[in-house]
């Protein structure tokens, strides 16, 4: 178990956001959390990243607790977040965005090698290395956000709605890359509204409803589950 969240309770003031949530990810897995708007998906990721404080619960990474650590330290441990809506540094060049992604690293030589590697992996980034990130399309920015997160050499990547606001063709491309990233040994933990996509690439999935995990199954099983199909897949 590389990441484990146990009995997490979290409130925004009086409003309950997470209700006894327990999830985990094994090394090399793709785990998805499916939920509608406001179900608490982003809150879950923010809490894991140390950006929100839970009322109670445990969060551990590779067996040691990361609860209460700063985001900066959590990134150093090997967890990277690709935030919702991509959040690339719009006025900086693609190259500087990647450099910022490697902020916690000090091995300049290897950073340059990694940049070359990801320019090959994401050809669009190689072509636009000196271009301003804000001028790229949504899909290109999503690629950049993924590459930027990879620059910190994470053991596990948390993806917040990687399909948000993208055209179907681009979504397909993004998910292909997610699978490739997993093949190279990075565990993927993603939260999505786009249930069909997320279920078809992931190994296991959780269904999050109003801050509560209501189902936890193999993704295949969920894809064939009638209730899930009706509620999330629109069939």
């Amino acid at each position: 178990m590389i990441l484990s969240v146990e009995n997490l309770w979290m409130y925004y003031g009086q409003v309950q956001a997470l209700h006894d949530v327990s999830v985990y990810a094994d090394e090399g897995e793709i785990v998805a959390v499916i939920g509608l708007n406001g179900a608490g998906k982003t809150t879950l990721l923010k809490t894991i990243m140390g950006q929100e404080k839970p009322a109670s619960g445990k969060i551990s990474f590779k067996g040691t607790s990361i609860l209460g650590k700063s985001t900066n330290d959590i990134v150093k441990e090997g967890i990277a977040l690709v935030p919702e809506g991509r959040q690339v540094f719009a006025t900086l060049s693609v190259y500087d965005n990647l450099m910022a992604g490697a902020y916690i690293r000090n091995d300049n030589k290897e950073i340059q090698q990694d940049i070359e590697k990801y320019c090959k992996r994401f050809p669009i980034l190689g072509e636009r290395l000196n271009q301003r990130a804000g001028y790229m399309s949504g899909g290109e920015q999503q690629m950049l956000a993924l590459a930027r997160a990879l620059m910190s050499r994470p053991k596990i990547m948390l993806l917040d709605e990687p399909s948000l606001g993208l055209a179907p063709v681009i979504i397909k491309e993004v998910y292909e890359i997610i699978e490739e990233i997993r093949k190279e040994g990075t565990t993927i933990f993603l939260v999505e509204q786009n249930a069909k996509r997320a279920l078809s690439v992931s190994d296991r999935a959780y269904i999050l409803v109003n801050g509560e995990i209501t189902m936890s199954e193999k993704s295949e099983t969920l894809l064939n589950n009638d209730a899930v199909r009706r509620a999330y897949l629109g069939v």
Binding site: S70, T71, N72, F89, A90, Y103, I104, R148, A149
Partner: protein
Amino acid sequence: MKKAALKDFFSKKSTRIFLLAILFAGLTVAPFVTNTLTKRIISTIFIYSLLSMGNMVIGGFTGMLNLGHAAFWGVGAYITAILMTGYNVPFSAAFLAAGIGTALVGLVVSIPCLRLSTDFLSLITIAFSYIFLAVVRNWMSVTKGPQGIPGISCINFFGVDFSSANAVYFVLFAVAVVSFIVISNITKSKFGLAMQAVRDDELGARSAGIKPAQVKILSFVIGTFFAGLAGALYAAYIGYIGPNTFTFDTSTTIFQMCILGGLGSIPGAVVGTVFFVVMPETIRTLAVYRVGVGGVIMLLLMLFRPQGIMGSRAFATKDGIQERIKNKLIARKVANVQKHV
């Protein structure tokens, strides 16, 4: 084609070094061949460029709208004046004390700024500049109130007096050059990248392992440190300081220098400074209209080159008016062609 070649010429490193060398040589010879007024104007540019470069770090790189920079300048000037006239502290020590003391004040002011977005943060800095003036005007026993502090002895480093006009000129020149190099290197470093990342997107920066709060405070401390140094130099250069120099108006002028030069560019800060120091001198005959002329120029700038002269377009969301017209014309042509097909 010609335009591209010109652009190529200016972006070449050798060209830039050549131009810098000419500028450097010109500034070195200047005090020997020009009159007192020109010397004074260039000296003023040196002092103001410390201010605009500092404010560029805070506003242009980290994206914090600081409208109280003149007050930080004043803190440095008053620290120097009080130490030198009241306690006979040598200038070298007062100079350092001004830098560090102002940076500490900057640290204190920056802490409430962490909780606020740009617009509200600017209100805090405006409030600070008025608090500063109120304190200086009313704390008679220390600051001598509105009449100011006269009789500050001239710049003197480690016992060497720089009292002649030329000597002062070279001291200011040296400090400005060293500060330029230091600040440029900071902005080009990893920390500079972190500042810009925080400016562009705090959430994204946090996800990359950058600590936005730390970056903001540190950039504020750096910017105000140089304002403190500028204050020390100003106090010893003029020999007298009073509260009316360090007003909110001066802060806006400093910010205008940054905007004109181009937010996100340290050379831009210097270019903006040159303009706003030289402009009022050259149209002195139109003294009454000075503010108006500055305003009109700012308006034209926003229309034609919103990113500033040297700016990286960091803060401009739209193209200049000429580009927008060009784009519209192209769009119209395309529409016409499509109609005929």
